[in-house]
């Protein structure tokens, strides 16, 4: 068993108990905790114990520094808030006084004690217990040195939507190389599907296209369109990324983007991506006229030649012989120092909200379908018409919050739906003169100029009904309902049930994480929440970094947001990356797992577990090794190793058992634990 003595009895430990104003002192008798520690933990090496109003203030820190110097402290325990907040602060204070920062231990008596208890006596006792645990633990701490790794100046940006484009341009403008990877044949993302953007009603293409062109022609940006990242190795500063360039079957060297191949292709396919399923494209296509790059791709599963062996119309008519049916996928490996993920969102599939009839009732549209209807480059050239392609609606119902703010689907608010629905209402008015109803739960028009836009749409005569729509049906009850879609809703302001017959229904569907978000998260070694949004390092103070060093996120991959926020995040992520690049190197936390090779038998149980891909196996020696630069110290492999051959710095058996012993020392001191031993 663990030896519970202060090794050689030499450690001189300082204990500092923080009041945190009344945050802690309101529920814990901090003076008592400090005097108790000085008295009862003296035999454990505590030579000084103080309480102070705000330990994190510069005066509090100076107190520690002074004691280290004057009292010759060799270990420091601070009882305050969660280590998440101030561990770095107190480590730095120790370092300033010449003590290795890793000889400092922070125990939480705020989040884990004062904020969660209501009995002051018990809370004080518990504070003593956790403090005692910290003291026992700190005895076993070792001085550690951070690892320094160089930062490769190149950056990988994954996702060519507006957030990714912005991030790529910012980094490239600073003079550093960027690899921009986009899954679709063209960059542009969802923004390229819109006609107008709220609240200014700017033409989406007009403001996006220049950015796309910049990204496509920038000397420092290497664009990989129609490509996907297949493998990521390495660690912050030094990632090796494999990119699969899917075969376009069009030779980019020869193609001029003239478009004849598309014209001549006999195969028409429903375009599920760019046209949101509402329009057609050919089997060889560029998704939209302003596409960057301009080169088309051949959609192999739909190409007549690939399926039946004959056709080759595109090849026959291509003036530059750019069609290449033999082309194969190409794998490119690049070195980068940092990665920005901006892979965006999918639209919620409203088929599952069966009562709204999407998929059954022809004239129920999703918001993205409607965007295409209004787009001058869309399937109807911007005409707002019913599914028959000709009839103009005389009345339109727009349903907010479809699949969001609904515990059956997604609890969260999708942020953009209110403004988007207002934009739709405006466009319907402007282009058809139809009566427009907006069905909303709450109207959320935060941010600049948004509420003004709401008022403008109100003045235009859009009818607003507050209530969650119960049903959209074609089952008419009254003669005037025949042939219409009837929206059944409780008008919660008037407290009446309404049946409103309309010609067209638009569902403002929620933003949801990409269908493959979990796989992408795993590929890059970051975590996503259970519903699939990628998790930022800190929701307020570090919104574009992740828990994995060197991986940043921007745009809707982190959660629903509008265009301005996506652009801001793209820029923010690039600023973080540029800071890193300019430092030239980065110091990594030395909290790492290590393998004791003499104990490792190469059973390979741990090999597949590392979320950061830090584990490698040496076939020749039959032992596992952990790459210290990749390891984030999460402890997964430590727990899994059946031989106990892997240990985690700062979380050794000795430290953990000592901490438990320390905790027990207070709580159970009268219970004669010895009986069990």
């Amino acid at each position: 068993m663990t030896e519970h003595t202060n090794p050689e009895g030499k450690e001189r430990i300082g204990v500092y108990v923080c009041h945190c104003g009344t945050n802690i002192a309101g529920m814990v008798d901090v003076e008592d905790v400090a005097t108790w520690a000085a008295r009862e933990l003296a035999d454990r090496g505590v030579v000084i114990a103080r309480d102070y109003k705000f330990m994190c203030s510069s005066l509090g820190q100076e107190l520690i520094e002074q004691d280290i110097k004057e009292e010759g402290l060799t270990r420091v325990v601070v009882a305050a808030c969660s280590p998440h907040l101030h561990e770095a602060t107190f480590r730095k204070a120790c370092a300033n006084a010449g003590l290795n920062p890793y000889l400092c231990e922070l125990v939480s008596i705020r989040e884990q004690v004062s904020w969660v208890h209501t009995d002051k006596v018990a809370a004080t006792e518990k504070s003593k217990a956790v403090l005692s645990g910290g003291v026992e633990r700190v005895i076993h701490h070792e001085p550690l040195e951070p690892l320094h790794v160089p930062i490769h100046p190149a950056t990988l940006v994954v996702g060519g939507g507006i957030a990714g484009i912005q991030a790529a341009i910012e980094v490239a403008d600073a003079g550093y190389p960027v690899y921009l990877v986009e899954r679709e044949p063209s960059i542009g993302g969802h923004m390229s599907q819109f006609d107008k953007t709220f609240p200014t009603l700017d033409c989406s293409a007009c403001i996006l296209t220049p950015k796309m062109v910049t990204a496509g022609t920038h000397p420092h940006i290497k664009l990989f369109s129609y490509s996907e990242v297949t493998n990521v190795d390495g660690y912050v500063g030094n990632f090796t990324v494999t990119i699969r360039k899917k075969a376009r079957h069009v030779n980019e060297e020869l193609c001029t983007g003239c478009g004849i191949c598309q014209e001549k292709c006999p195969k028409k396919v429903i375009d599920d991506v760019y046209e949101a399923g509402l329009g057609y494209r050919k089997a060889v296509y560029t998704p939209f006229p302003q596409a960057v790059p301009k080169f088309p791709v051949i959609d192999v599963p739909n190409c007549i030649y690939f399926q039946k062996g004959t056709c080759k119309a595109c090849e026959k008519f291509c003036p530059t012989n750019a069609i290449d049916f033999q082309q194969e996928d190409e794998y490119v490996t690049v070195q980068v120092g940092n990665i920005i993920l901006a892979t965006g969102f999918d639209l919620f599939d409203p088929r599952v909200v069966s009562q709204y009839g999407y998929g059954r009732l022809a004239n129920v549209f999703t918001s993205l379908e409607f965007e295409r209807l209004t787009n001058a480059a869309g399937p109807t050239n911007g005409e707002i018409v019913l599914r028959d392609g000709v009839t103009k609606p005389t009345s339109v119902g727009i349903l907010h919050c479809v699949g969001s703010r609904d515990r059956n689907y997604n609890n969260y608010c999708s942020v953009i739906c209110c403004m988007q629905s207002l934009k739709f209402a405006h466009l319907v008015h402007e282009r058809t003169g139809a009566t427009v109803y907006n069905f909303y739960i709450d109207m959320r028009t935060a941010y600049k100029e948004y509420d003004e836009f709401y008022q403008r749409v109100l003045e235009e005569g859009t009818l607003f009904v507050r209530g969650k729509v119960a049903e959209v049906t074609d089952a008419a009850r009254l003669p005037q309902e025949e042939g219409k879609l009837i929206i059944q809703v409780e008008d919660t302001l008037a407290s009446v049930q309404r049946r409103i017959p309309v010609d067209m229904v638009v569902l403002s569907a929620a933003m949801v994480p990409r269908h493959d978000a979990h796989e992408v998260a795993q590929l890059f070694g970051i975590s996503c929440s259970s519903n699939g949004w990628f998790i930022e390092k800190h929701p307020k103070l570090d919104p574009v970094a992740t828990m994995t060093e060197g991986i940043f996120i921007a745009g809707c991959v982190q959660g629903p947001k509008d265009i301005p926020s996506s652009v801001a995040q793209g820029a923010a992520a690039s600023a973080r990356v540029l800071g890193r690049i300019q430092q030239g190197e980065i110091a990594l936390e030395p909290v790492r797992a290590t393998v004791d090779e003499s104990k490792c038998s190469g059973c390979r149980i741990c090999n597949n577990l590392c979320p950061y891909n830090a584990i490698l196996f040496h076939e020749d020696r039959m032992v596992t090794e952990i790459n210290p630069a990749l390891c984030q110290g999460c402890g997964t492999c430590v727990a899994a190793c059946p031989a106990g051959a892997i240990s985690g710095t700062c979380f050794s058996n000795e430290q953990i058992f000592a901490q438990i012993e320390g905790l027990m020392r207070v709580n159970f001191q009268h219970e004669k634990l010895a009986e069990m031993a």
Binding site: I270, G279, R351, G359, A362, R387, D388, G389, A475, A476
Partner: protein, 328 residues
Amino acid sequence: MSKYLFYPGCAMQTSARAYNESMQEVLGPLGLNFEEVRDWNCCGATEYLGISTVPAYALISRNLALASRQSNGVKTLVASCSACYLNLSKADHYMAERPSLGQMVNVALAEGGLEYTPGTLEIRHLLDIVINEVGLDVVKERVTHPLKGLRVAPYLGCMVPRPDYEKRWSDYEYPDELDRLLKALGAEVIDFPLKTHCCGGHMAQISPTTAFELIRRLISSADNYKADVMVTVCPMCQMNLDAYQNETNHYFHTNYKMPVLFFTQLMGLAFGIDAKKLGFGRELVSAKEAMSRIGIEVPQEEPKTPARRKKTTGLPMPKMPGDEEETQ
């Protein structure tokens, strides 16, 4: 032969005799063996729970207690009537969720020497058993006389898919179980928008005009879709739509003649069972004319569907799950 306990409920012996007769006929072909709960009593229908709580649950639970005593290892209790199904599962659910209620009900049951532990039985509707236990593959195998050319409006009513304590149904607003079953029988199934709307329930008795309006909505919608018959899974729905159709016509000056049948009757027909054995003729709005359409050899020509879906000049419709199956 899979064995199940069976709770018929009052209507199966009276107003829904056709349901009972046709069900008995198809049990064999489906490989189902139903053992009736001995000396069961009324479930309280839609009335008892409005009047009282403990007595109402005690009334229902007497059946659960009798069934569990009789179960002999059989866990599933099948109900054919939607109201019975809902009441039985409701009692089982709330006795577990509110232990004090469960206790009181058991105190009352003890008076009759009975007891019931919630969760002992698994209460399921007949349609659920056919779809999820027998399976559509077996149903399809049994079909010898596909109901080709018969346009049917599948109508479930409100009590089967809601509130669905055990999450057995595909969707509580728009479940497709009955649609899939009728498709398997070869019928042409319309996408009936009111499939889970209310038939009026006991409103036919206490507020006839309310009921007439609800009945009219259902019948006229089925008629708009040119349905030959409506198909139900519930005695009360059938009763309201069939028996009060004439009065409804009278009230609104309409002239609907929409036959309302039980799904088991159509299953029997598709299995090649004589219509007489299946309770045909008991309906008040005769199904004779509608049935004559499939009695005669219908040519293989596909009837035209209403212009609701894909028109070549129009914009494409979103793909729905199941679309692929149809095209194959």
